[in-house]
Structures are given as structure tokens and as C-alpha cells.
């Protein structure tokens, strides 16, 4: 029984990280906090027999649906999902690449507004995460803490007196908390200052990754910053630490943008309008090229060059241009070359109101 209806509902709704609201949303797309939790009495996911995995999945599903705050949520059992569905959830940042690729029993609970999601049987039994639009780490922590406490009443977490919450990987032990912000640093990239920022981050025990694309690959000037350490610091402190650094990064990015607008305006205008021109007229568009051009377009909207394009509609393009979304929207399976054609078509249609001036 494929959950087609539920997936289609997701397809037509705006997911949280693309709403384009929230503080500092011109630079910070979204804030996320996830907690790694394991249940006592079960081996960690990778070493758990399939029958026990099933048991755990059922136990968690029961606990999740009984939570008032997750009453109307979707619960996906992966044995009912196709590869394309999994890719689709991955593109919406509801699940991790690892969770999509793993074998064995797995599941996912998602609240209707896609703010709360719980991966079941990822590397850890539970990965509870909350997403917020813009820079909103404090609120994300408040909410994920609440969900976690509610689950804690119904499940028995694996906890060690001095090491805290036990996790499959020792890099997550303690709080099991990973806080991250997805940022668009187009200004710092163009002024070639990103490496300076990244180096400063490592001194503060923060890590940077590319946000779109595989693994560590950075594309379209999007980055994900997160805390590295999980043991020895309370949750609020970790969250607060990242929040403070993010505010500084935002300041630097703002400075870089106004420098570009004031001192290198012609060059900037040229780059942005060329991107718009390509997006509005190309017949074949790869996802990598699209990402780079959309990044420029986003900058154009943020600095006020481009009118008639709402943040929400712009953000939707980042989602819809990805392979699984593109195929779900057109209800057909497409090969790479066909996708490039469809993608170009989608961009032209959706950007038709943006005028070339």
C-alpha cells in the first residue's frame, strides 16, 4: 500500500525551510536542531536483527501517534516507499542521505507542516528534528526539547550517568544534539572571504558543509554550519554558541553585499541579470547550473534588483528543480537529459512574471 496520497499532500505544500519567513531569512534559510536517541534493551540500529527492528519501529510508531503534538502527522514505513519517494523526502530535507540509502526496516514521522520529523532506525534508533525558517535556533530547541520529553514518557532512552545519551557514534554522545543553520553566503563568496570565515569556524569547534549536493560538495553558495561537539556542554549553551556565531556571519555577509552593491554595482548587476536571462530562456538546465543561477537570482531579490518575485516562489524553485520533485510534479519518470529539458521548462514558466529590465 503506497502512501501516494500523503506524499502528494507534501508535494503541494510549502515545507518549513522554504517558507522564506523567520528572522534574517535573506541570509539564513533555516535553522535545525536534531537529537540522537536510542532505546534501552535494543542493540544500535546497525547491529539489530530485522525482527527486532520491526519491533522497535512498531513501538516507536505507537509512541509517536499517541503524542498530541504529532496527532495528525504522517508516518511512513519505508517498506511501502519506492526509491523515488525516498529521494523526494531527502530533497525536502526530512531525511538524511544515509537513512534513504540504508537497508532494513526504517520509518519516518513528519508533522503536517514539516516542522517536526523523526527518523526511525537511522544510525541511531531515533533522530528527532525540528526545522524553523530563518535564524530561529532558540525556538527550534524549545520545540525539539518538548517533543523529546514527550517521547521520553513513552519510551525508555539509553542513558549513561556520565556520558549522557548513548549514541552509535561517539561523536554524538552526551546531548546527542546537532544544531545547524543553512546559509546563503553569495556576498562572501563573490568577495572571496568564505575561506576566512570557515577557518574561524574551526577554531570555534563548528563545522561547515555544503548544503545542496553530495557530501561535502558546496554549490550555489549554500552552506550548513553546525556544532561539532556534543559532550560537556548543556543544550542551551550549544545552541546559544551557534546562534551568536551565526549573527556575526550574517553581519559579514551583509557587509560583503553592500560592498558589492556600492563598489561593484555594474559587475553585480551584470552577473545577476545574465543569470535571470539564462533561467528565463534556456532549453536545457542541469541541476548544478540551476543552483548557481538561482543563487544569483536570490541575491538579486535580496539586494532589491529583481522585483515581482516573492521569496516563497523563489524558494519553491530550489525544491521543484531537484530530480525527484521534478518527476513527481510531471508524474512521469524522466532520464537525466529529459529532466534537464523539463527543468528548463519549469523555470521559464515559473519565472514568467519576472521582467527583464
Amino acid at each position: 500500500m503506497e502512501p501516494t496520497k500523503e506524499l502528494n499532500e507534501l508535494l503541494t505544500s510549502t515545507c518549513e525551510w522554504l517558507r522564506g519567513t523567520g528572522p534574517e531569512n535573506d541570509i539564513v534559510l533555516s535553522s535545525r536542531i536534531r537529537l540522537a536517541r536510542n532505546l534501552s534493551g535494543y542493540a544500535f540500529s546497525e547491529r539489530l536483527e530485522e525482527a527486532r527492528q520491526r519491533q522497535l519501529l512498531d513501538e516507536v510508531e505507537k509512541a509517536v501517534v499517541s503524542l498530541p503534538m504529532l496527532k495528525d502527522s504522517y508516518f511512513f514505513d519505508y517498506k511501502n516507499l519506492k526509491d523515488l519517494d525516498m529521494q523526494f523526502l531527502l530533497e525536502r530535507h526530512l531525511i538524511s542521505r544515509e537513512h534513504a540509502a540504508d537497508q532494513g526496516e526504517r520509518g519516518l514521522a513528519v508533522s503536517r507542516n514539516e516542522v517536526i520529523s523523526i527518523m526511525v532506525l537511522e544510525e541511531d534508533h531515533l533522530r528527532v528534528q525540528v526545522l524553523q525558517s530563518g535564524l530561529n535556533l532558540i525556538e527550534a530547541w524549545r520545540l525539539v526539547d518538548k517533543v523529546d520529553s514527550a517521547l521520553d514518557k513513552r519510551l525508555s532512552y539509553s542513558f549513561h550517568e556520565s556520558l549522557g545519551y548513548l549514541t552509535a557514534c561517539p561523536t554524538n554522545v552526551g546531548t546527542g544534539l546537532r544544531a545547524s543553520c543553512m546559509v546563503h553566503l553569495a556576498g562572501l563568496m563573490m568577495t572571496k572571504q568564505v575561506n576566512k570565515i570557515l577557518q574561524a569556524l574551526s577554531k570555534l569547534n563548528l563545522t561547515a558543509r555544503g548544503f545542496f549536493g553530495e557530501g561535502t560538495q558546496a554549490s550555489g553558495n549554500f552552506f550548513q554550519f553546525s556544532n561539532q561537539m556534543t559532550l560537556g556542554q548543556a543544550e542551551e549553551e550549544i545552541v546559544d554558541g551557534l546562534d551568536r556565531v551565526m549573527r556575526q556571519v550574517i553581519e559579514h555577509e551583509k557587509e560583503a553585499r553592500s560592498h558589492l552593491v556600492e563598489k561593484r554595482r555594474a559587475k553585480l548587476e551584470d552577473q545577476i541579470w545574465r543569470a535571470v536571462g539564462a533561467l528565463k530562456s534556456a532549453r536545457l538546465m542541469s541541476s548544478a547550473e540551476t543552483l548557481g543561477l538561482l543563487s544569483l537570482m536570490r541575491l538579486g531579490v535580496d539586494v532589491g534588483f529583481i522585483k515581482n518575485l516573492s521569496k516563497k516562489n523563489l524558494n519553491a524553485l530550489f525544491l521543484y528543480m531537484q530530480p525527484a520533485h521534478l518527476q513527481k510534479l510531471s508524474s512521469v519518470t524522466l532520464k537525466t537529459a529529459e529532466r534537464d529539458y523539463k527543468r528548463a521548462e519549469l523555470l521559464r514558466t515559473r519565472l514568467k512574471d519576472v521582467e527583464l529590465v
Binding site: 546497525e46 542513558f159 549522557g164 548513548l166 561517539p170 568564505v194 570557515l198 557530501g215 560537556g232
Partner: protein, 171 residues
């Protein structure tokens, strides 16, 4: 431009990667890029980390020279080195000899501060709170905020009394 990975084919794919918080340009041919995409892991290299620990005399063996293994889930030290993942909660106990220096390298401290499950036994909760309180007390004394320090001391006494009582009950 020649592929960075195989050094033979023409590079057609140009990536920007972040390695150790540093942006690096990588140029790959199509087949190398494909390979990279499939086996790429973002986690860090545990084998390397464990090897660096053996330089300071930490090995995957106990005092008797036996290889460390988890008696509960039978995870071996090699498995752990290869995947960087432990097999079960008890692995933390069986691999303690290696995990302690490893955690020292990758984490801030060796002791958890922060949230505690509601179901953690009363004592466990108290001991975590007690530790927090002692730390705060130290800070207060250093900062000479004596009023707060006095309050913290009261709470410590209170908790210690409770721990004593529950110890008696258990006996």
C-alpha cells in the same frame, strides 16, 4: 584539465568541496565523479583517529593482551575502527579503554551536562544535578557572587541528604 583522482582522463566535472573547513576545488572525470558520489562519507576517519591513538600507547587490547570485544553484541575493535559505529550501549563499557582517549580528542569534556531523561533513576538525576551545582559553585566563588553561592550550597546539602537517605533504603 586532467582528473585529480585518476590523473588520466580529461576532467569534466568541477566541484567545490569543503575539507577541514577549507574550500577546495576538485576536478574529476565522469567515472571518478560517479565513484566518489557513491562511496563518499561525510563522517570523519575513525581508523586514522584510532591509529593516532596507538601512537600514544592506546591499543585495542586489554591488560592481558586480549583483543577488545563487546560481550553483549560481539562487536570487535576492528569493526569499530572500520565503521566508527558502536554496536550497542554496552560497547561503551567494553571499549572504555579506547573510548576515553578518543572522546578526549573529539569532545569538549568527558562528562555530560544538560538534559537527563525523566525516567533516569532519582539518584542518577541527582548526581548529574550535583555535578552541575558543584561546577556553578566554583564559578560563583571565582566571580565572588557569594549570595548565589550560598543558595547553591543549600541545594547541594539538600540533594546530598536525599542521596544518603536513598542509599540507606537500598541497603
Amino acid at each position: 584539465m586532467i582528473c585529480n583522482a585518476c590523473g588520466q582522463n580529461e576532467a569534466t566535472i568541477h566541484l567545490t568541496e569543503i575539507m577541514n573547513n577549507q574550500m577546495v576545488e576538485v576536478h574529476l572525470c565522469e567515472s571518478c565523479a560517479e565513484q566518489k558520489g557513491s562511496d563518499f562519507k561525510t563522517h570523519f576517519d575513525f581508523n586514522k583517529l584510532l591509529a593516532s591513538l596507538s601512537d600514544i600507547g592506546v591499543t585495542g587490547r586489554d591488560e592481558a593482551g586480549e583483543k577488545l570485544t563487546c560481550k553483549t553484541c560481539s562487536m570487535s575493535y576492528e569493526d569499530f575502527g572500520r565503521t566508527g559505529r558502536l554496536g550497542c550501549a554496552d560497547c561503551y563499557r567494553f571499549f572504555e579503554r579506547v573510548l576515553t582517549p578518543l572522546l578526549k580528542r573529539v569532545q569538549r569534556e568527558l562528562r555530560h551536562v544538560g538534559k537527563v531523561p525523566a525516567k533516569a533513576t532519582g539518584e542518577m538525576k541527582w548526581s548529574v544535578e550535583l555535578r552541575d551545582l558543584h561546577e556553578r559553585l566554583k564559578k560563583c566563588i571565582a566571580a565572588e557572587t557569594f549570595e548565589e553561592a550560598a543558595q547553591i550550597r543549600d541545594r547541594i546539602h539538600q540533594l546530598e541528604e536525599r542521596v544518603k537517605k536513598s542509599d540507606k533504603k537500598q541497603k
